[in-house]
């Protein structure tokens, strides 16, 4: 069916000289100029209005150097305590991500235009997901601390909501990209909607869903490390006091712990991704 229609390639008879050569340059569209001008204007206006003190900016490096000198060697005296908090952070991220991903599945099926039960519902679901996504996770943490009190539960809920907003959207976009044919084929056997989803939609989307979920886990671990700053559990609760009390060696210990865990998570997710894509996909194609 993709064969070209022959009358589309009809040669222009004897009209070779009648067409103008496209010009080398074209004036940019006024909308592009406008956007650029607004961005430039805002930047300049900001620099002027905020009255930025260059002398203080110059002091920055020496202060950082101070912090560095005072923080080495890191304080290992409270390692056990901090490691336990790091474990809590990891668990908050993991549990929150699992809840978020599980909720994302039905949300994405509703939000994707090719699987939604009702189109207006898809728009509504998109709106909800966008809202969840546009509120930062730290703000969600504040909200849930207010709702369920201080502690890891607030952190878990904040992570879950953040993941739902993110994964829900990406899952939905993946579902919309799925080839129509196999879905139609399963549908044409008289299968139910649920069977089409399980039989044709999920298999095609599974690899992408897994990759997105792993990325969410990575992102959640990063996010969960600072949730403690607003009292939503995890290692973040130690970070602010360490800076305020100038215990830079403890702060460095915490930062090292975060670094190790985040790097490990990234490594894990890229290994899994490699396994899934297979060696074939990852060899150079250029």
């Amino acid at each position: 069916m993709s064969a070209p229609v022959s009358n589309a390639v009809r040669p222009v008879s004897g009209a070779a000289g009648q067409h103008e050569l496209p010009p080398r340059f074209r004036a940019p569209r006024w909308s592009s100029v406008l956007v650029l001008a607004v961005m430039l204007g805002l930047s300049v206006q900001g620099l002027l209005r905020m009255d930025i003190s260059w002398s203080r900016a110059m002091q920055g490096p020496s202060n950082v150097w101070d912090f560095f000198m005072n923080s080495v060697p890191p304080n290992v005296g409270r390692f056990e305590n901090l490691a336990l908090l790091m474990l809590e952070t990891l668990e908050i991220a993991l549990i929150g991500t699992i809840i978020g991903v599980v909720l994302s599945l039905p949300a994405a099926l509703i939000a994707a235009r090719n699987t939604t039960p009702w189109l207006p519902l898809a728009w509504f679901m998109r709106l909800v997901l966008t809202t969840l996504r546009s509120v930062p996770d730290l703000v969600w943490a504040l909200i849930f601390v207010m709702a369920v009190g201080l502690g890891p539960l607030a952190g878990i809920l904040a992570i879950a909501v953040d993941v739902l907003g993110f994964a829900g959207r990406f899952f939905a976009e993946r579902i919309e990209e799925i080839e129509r044919g196999p879905m139609d084929a399963v549908r044409s056997t008289g299968a139910s909607g649920a069977a089409v989803v399980v039989g044709a939609v999920l298999p095609a989307a599974f690899a992408s869903f897994t990759a997105t979920s792993l990325y969410c886990l990575e992102k959640s671990i990063r996010g969960a490390t600072i949730l403690g700053m607003v009292g939503a559990g995890g290692i973040g609760m130690e970070l602010t006091p360490a800076f305020n009390l100038r215990q830079y060696d403890t702060a460095l210990m915490i930062i090292i712990l975060i670094l190790v865990v985040v790097l490990a998570a990234e490594q894990l997710s890229s290994t899994v991704r490699k396994r899934m894509l297979g060696a074939d996909q990852l060899t150079r194609a250029m």
């Binding site: 009358n7 084929a185 044409s188």
Partner: protein, 286 residues
């Protein structure tokens, strides 16, 4: 399993199309009054250039495309006025073989074949080969034996060649236990040898099961070899409805001449709509 026409429970033609018109929302008239009657057990080859309405006609038979006017009666179901449930039941009885094959590539061959039974045995157990009922697993293996591919049952569908995939698709159609098969250019994506193999299989299965077959084709040689009754569409109308042995080669070739190929450009007035057939098809794909 072979049923005589009488055993189907309805006498007379299994397809009765009268005055069928399909006008897409963009104004393209894909079908402009088609009349067609097909008796039970007949094999009909449907010919015509791109945009002649073949695909749209086939899609109207199970209301994948809703007719604009006219009547369509398939296997005793009044397609134009049938309820959603009746349409689903009709689709269970009509096997579809696609040009684009449309297996779910990520799933095993066996799972794909088992999915053919979802219309009549829609238990969630049959969503996966792992959990499917033994009856369906055995029947799927039998179907794979018939298409000569039982030895690759556990492979992922995407690992097979195009010809093998199309044979798996036929096995899936068999699994559906249809009363009629609609094949839409089933060999267009295959090399000549694989194409012949698939055509042989399709005709053999149709004969053994006593099915009605409507098969659109592009390749005139194949149409010659396999066709018995031939229906040719041209610009949304039935141009010829006859038996293959009564048709001259020139008449067949004539179906595919476009206005710009004819030395005397009698359709020059159509040049304002450069690609009617393409718009037509994209409309049909929706």
């Amino acid at each position: 399993m072979t049923l005589s026409p009488a055993e189907h429970g309805y006498s007379g033609p299994v397809i009765e199309v009268a005055g069928l018109v399909k006008e897409f929302s963009n104004g393209t008239r894909a079908l402009q009054g088609v009349d067609l009657r097909v008796q039970s057990g007949e094999t009909v080859v449907l010919l015509g250039a791109n945009g002649s309405g073949k695909s749209t006609l086939q899609k109207c038979l199970t209301r994948l495309v809703a007719p604009t006017s006219g009547t369509v009666r398939v296997l005793g179901t009044e397609v134009t006025t049938a309820s959603k449930r009746e349409i689903t039941r009709l689709r269970c009885d009509v096997g579809v073989v696609f040009q684009k094959i449309n297996l779910v590539r990520e799933l095993s061959v066996l799972t794909n074949v088992i999915h053919g039974s979802l219309g009549r045995a829609g238990s969630p157990r049959n969503w996966f080969a792992m959990t499917a009922r033994s009856e369906q697993r055995d029947e799927a293996m039998e179907a794979l034996e018939r298409v000569g591919l039982a030895h690759v049952a556990s492979r992922r569908a995407e690992q097979l060649s195009g010809g093998q995939q199309q044979r798996v698709a036929i096995a899936r159609t068999l699994m559906q236990r249809p009363k009629m098969i609609l094949a839409d250019e089933p060999v267009a994506a295959l090399d000549p040898r694989a194409g012949r193999q698939v055509m042989d299989l399709l005709w053999q299965v149709t004969e053994e099961e006593g099915l009605t077959l409507i098969c659109t084709l592009h390749q005139l040689e194949l149409a010659r070899i396999y066709g018995h009754r031939m229906v040719a569409l041209r610009e949304g109308r039935v141009d010829m409805d006859t038996y293959m042995h009564q048709v001259e080669d020139e008449q067949l070739e004539g179906l595919y001449t476009e206005e710009d190929e004819a030395p005397h450009a009698q359709h020059a007035d159509q040049h304002e709509h450069p690609e009617p057939s393409l718009t037509n098809l994209s409309g049909a794909a929706r």
